[in-house]
């Protein structure tokens, strides 16, 4: 980030009360209030949202691409972790 560039904020919108917040995109802003206003103007100007979250992008923790293998691959080949062998009335884990 260059010195003249404002911090990045990730924007989450909620379409209706009770629904989960979904990632909508990001905005640049110098502080919380401006981040909220920018998010409102960029991501809900056509009535897409009834509520908004803005989160400083550097507060979001994510594994690096190099770590993806060790993080996620081991779960791919252990079919016994999926409880699909049991006949359970009404349950569907697919």
């Amino acid at each position: 980030m260059s010195a003249s560039e404002w911090p990045l904020w990730e924007v989450f919108t909620q379409r209706r009360a009770g629904l989960p917040f979904e990632h909508a995109g990001s905005v640049h802003a110098p502080d919380k209030e401006m981040a909220l206003q920018n998010a409102r103007d960029v991501y809900s100007r056509r009535g897409e949202a009834t509520c908004l979250w803005v989160v400083p992008a550097d507060c979001i923790v994510s594994p690096t691409p190099e770590e993806a293998g060790s993080f996620f691959d081991p779960s791919n080949d252990k079919i016994y972790r999926h409880p699909n062998f049991y006949k359970t009335p009404g349950a569907n884990f697919e």
């Binding site: 404002w6 905005v27 640049h28 802003a29 110098p30 209030e33 401006m34 206003q37 920018n38 409102r40 103007d41 960029v42 100007r45």
Partner: protein, 167 residues
Amino acid sequence: MSELNKNIAEYALRIGDTSLILGQRLAEWCGHGPILEEDIALTNISLDLIGQSRAFLTYAGEKEGNGRSEDDLAFFREARTFKNRLMAEQPNGDYAQTMIRQLFLSVYQYYFYTELMKSKDETFAALAEKSLKEVTYHVRHSSEWTIRFGDGTEESHVRTLEAVDTL
């Protein structure tokens, strides 16, 4: 045309013209904003104002009774016949001048629409209620920018004071 209708048409035109001219001024920033988010924010405000103007000019045309539409009133009048508040037509200047002009007019509209909601004229009252929601956000946007200009750098502080003096 009755005297009452004539007065209502005149009044609606004054309200609508102020929103229209200010909306057009803000639209000049489209594609020229200091950052993408602010470019969109200003043109959002512009569209709010032009929307308000459409409603008031349509009502003016109805009360005038000469069959003039919102478009006739917005685009087919001589410049000198517009009845907007003069501050609305002041040039954009730098971003401080645009924002201070917005602060002054949005605060004015906030109190104006708050009172207009009490009008015995149901159309005025309804349009005021709808417009007030938009203007409440415009006040928030322009006042937050004004605080940041004032507290920002020496240059932003000076430019903001100059904008207040100019307006």
